[in-house]
Subunit: 311 residues, 2 copies
Amino acid sequence: MTKQDLIDCHERIKPFIHITPVLTSRLINEMVGAQLYFKCENFQRMGAFKMRGAANAIMQLTAEQKKNGVVTHSSGNFAQALSLAAQGLGVKAYIVMPNTAPQVKKDAVRGYGGMVIECEPTLEARERESKSIEDRYGATFIHPSNDDQVILGQGTACVELLETQPDLDYVVTPVGGGGLIAGTALAAHYFGKHCKTIGGEPLACDDAYRSLMSGQIETNETANTIADGLKTQLGDRNFPLILKYVDEIIRVTEEEIIVAMHLIWERLKIVCEPSSAVALAAVLQQKEKFARKNIGIIISGGNVDLSQLPF
Amino acid sequence: MTKQDLIDCHERIKPFIHITPVLTSRLINEMVGAQLYFKCENFQRMGAFKMRGAANAIMQLTAEQKKNGVVTHSSGNFAQALSLAAQGLGVKAYIVMPNTAPQVKKDAVRGYGGMVIECEPTLEARERESKSIEDRYGATFIHPSNDDQVILGQGTACVELLETQPDLDYVVTPVGGGGLIAGTALAAHYFGKHCKTIGGEPLACDDAYRSLMSGQIETNETANTIADGLKTQLGDRNFPLILKYVDEIIRVTEEEIIVAMHLIWERLKIVCEPSSAVALAAVLQQKEKFARKNIGIIISGGNVDLSQLPF
């Protein structure tokens, strides 16, 4: 994936995304002893960066593929992103969701025009159901994070961030399925002057940390984190990019995530997901490393149940 | 107060304030059947529009007055605003606060360089203590809302809003002490093409509604509202402006305030105070009136105790 691929992708998806704002906080800067720039993808359409990758993936399909629709399995932001992007492009979206998914998430997908197909809450059932929809309708499966076009799309948030802040020393993202950090690392590599990419990961789901150590894709043994968007695994499309371009993965505790989330809400006055706070938590944990640097933070999304806050 | 006064005021305070963003939400627009533009003063310095009026009031003092400092009594946003504005201008700020005020509010004032003077939690004690500081130090008393320079400063948020959205039919603000709505109404009058100013007010503190009816300043009999910034009374400086330039005050229930606040948090992904939600609550209550109009909403501030949310 080249620099031109990223430029083309960004131009392609611009009609379907928001150019999100970059916020700063004097107090958080003082706390860290550095300059932090928060790229607010919680203000992105449907509330998360996932819109970028979903839009790009659909736009890269052939006319024939578009006619037959797209399918994914997700109960999170990608389900909504694919539905909304598909709606904007006149494409049908089949979303396979576990029958245990909250009603509000099913409603959100339907609100964006997606067709919800329920299945048993196991990975096998999801994959079987997706496959069956591919076979039945000729729909194209689009993976939420392990797909080159999705990775490129997710990277455009960092392209925009570097357009407004060209002198970043670091860009820090949360790490879940690996699409965001892989795309970000590509963008930092091609558009940064000296910008290293660092991931923040919950200690309870540290597959990316261990994968970077071992040089092969490791799996999570627990999923016991408040950062519910980060329970997913790396894949064979994004891991090579992460191995090549990501400088370090910093693991954070649940308490560190909650403290960072509170700080973002209280000081930046924005609503973000626990997953989004993992990046700031990593910076707060390693203040010496980041002291006096220019640091970009990707606030990945803002879809959170307001009645279930950890504070 | 002339159009030029507002222009001069805006130029004067620009180095001390943020030009805050204007956000929109497709879903909220669909709900109301109108175009809503949210002027986000929760992103203002110290987290509320009060920074504007405080900065302007201090800047309009003589060199002699500045040397002797300023004093106000407030346990809310104006206490922090006056402290931060004074700090930026090298002026001493004495803040009289009830000894029952939460520690976090006293700390916030001190964090911005204000000197906290505690007193008994009665209006008499506050006024006596302020007077004593005026006498002792020669400090100038600055009222949080009933002061021409404060009113002009608060009006600059609407000046900015009309710069980005010149075709507003309405601008809606919360009504507490009357400084924000008076300044906004001035700005709408001078800078709008056909922009009417409307206030939202909690039913439990409907002094402005009743004052507009009777033509004289009425007082609140209860203060039983979640919108804790709106418990204050109108004053003789802002009421004549309100009487002349404000089109209507719409009263909303506590439940309507909470629904509107939830909607702002969930859809705009921003943290705002209950007081801020009163303006949107008014629009949601009177959808027929606002249908197909362009409506500006002033989100007044974002200083809220995250552990005490109503949802």
